[in-house]
Symmetry: C2
Subunit: 225 residues, 2 copies
């Protein structure tokens, strides 16, 4: 197998994907819709993060929120979102390790033109591949859970480099993880990405979600300004 | 971009990789060397698992053990293995989300013909992509940590389907995770993979490593029989 041929195929896929993503992002902006791509390892707490964040945002009863729930298979997460009364669409990648624009467009159209202020994409649990694929969202965040360990920033740098915000999740586990060096995480993450916004949260205690909701609200306001 | 062309390229890569892997596996068998591929999410505890397992295996002072430490970047894990006095080679995939045979052969040759009874590959932290790529090992195990949640078996089935053993790690976290349904994990995992061997471990307390070492010893004996 010719390696340069593989690289060429991948580059073709990515540049096509980027063009479609730019167009999609512009269209959603025209509809006053703010899209957020939520990425992270399996078990980083993406669904719990979304549930806690949406609860916070809904303190404003006029806000309209939707969720696209991506999974290789199964509707475990999609059911949790539906049970919370949040309009959602299940995006089944059929084993593919990331979300790309073809899937995103199809999932979006399944809402049938519904108007949202915020549309969240829960990406596939994978700290590597989704970093390469633009999903047409306006901002991207990644979750890193305390039990995973702070040193993931050294071992999986691409994801930390491409996101707008890093959400440290499961901070209620900190007392059990004396080795979790928050200072080192901040330093290494900002060395890769100087403008990175960082939040410390716990979906269990609710810690940090006021700050995340405030950040998101201001990001949307800036987009629509 | 033509999707069927992408699928064709991927299938070519995989079938070439499978052929090289079979040959590699046979050669190591002839040298009485047993290879184990250790897979799992970022932060599942792969390095801690290896350190605890090797400590257990070394109760037999005659056993020779080596480790191939794969990472996208950084030598964080490789240093931990080196500090424990274990011969190791760092395999840097330069951002690639899995290990394939070209990398494996290069890493193996860096040992310069050293004789090992056991050679461990710590694969890239990724619960999706490595499932597709045969690394020429004799057996494959995956780690699932308690903080990740039992339901990962529903959401990432391919990995559970291809491995020989599932190692549940960080079991010392169980009292903190009343939602972790061990019975459901066993049931779902064995529905995907009826012959799956399952271990419950904690690298912190040492729980379960006698059983894993015993399993590994018997797997090697069966290979060489």
């Amino acid at each position: 197998m010719n390696e340069s041929r593989v690289i060429e195929v991948k580059q073709n896929i990515l540049s096509h994907n980027d063009r479609v993503a730019d167009e999609f992002r512009k269209q959603r902006r025209e509809e006053n819709m703010f899209l957020l791509d939520v990425m992270g390892s399996p078990g980083a707490g993406k669904t719990s993060f979304l549930l806690a964040l949406i609860k916070q945002l809904r303190q404003n009863p006029e806000v309209n929120i939707g969720v696209i729930e991506a999974d290789l298979e199964s509707d475990v997460d999609a059911m949790k979102i539906k049970e919370a009364g949040i309009p959602s669409v299940e995006l089944n990648t059929k084993g593919v390790c990331h979300v790309e624009m073809g899937m995103m467009q199809k999932a979006y159209s399944a809402f049938g033109g519904k108007a949202f202020d915020y549309l969240f994409l829960e990406n596939i649990g994978n700290l590597v591949c989704p970093a390469d694929f633009d999903t047409g969202c306006h901002k991207r965040v990644m979750l890193l859970s305390v039990p995973e360990g702070w040193d993931k920033v050294c071992k999986y740098p691409p994801m930390f480099a491409v996101v707008d915000a890093l959400i440290v999740t499961k901070c209620d586990y900190l007392p059990l993880n004396p080795d979790f060096d928050m200072k080192a995480l901040y330093e290494h993450a900002r060395a890769l990405n100087p403008n990175l916004t960082i939040f410390e949260t716990s979906a269990r205690t609710g810690e940090g979600f006021d700050a995340v909701a405030e950040w998101l609200t201001s990001q949307r306001a800036a987009l629509l300004a």
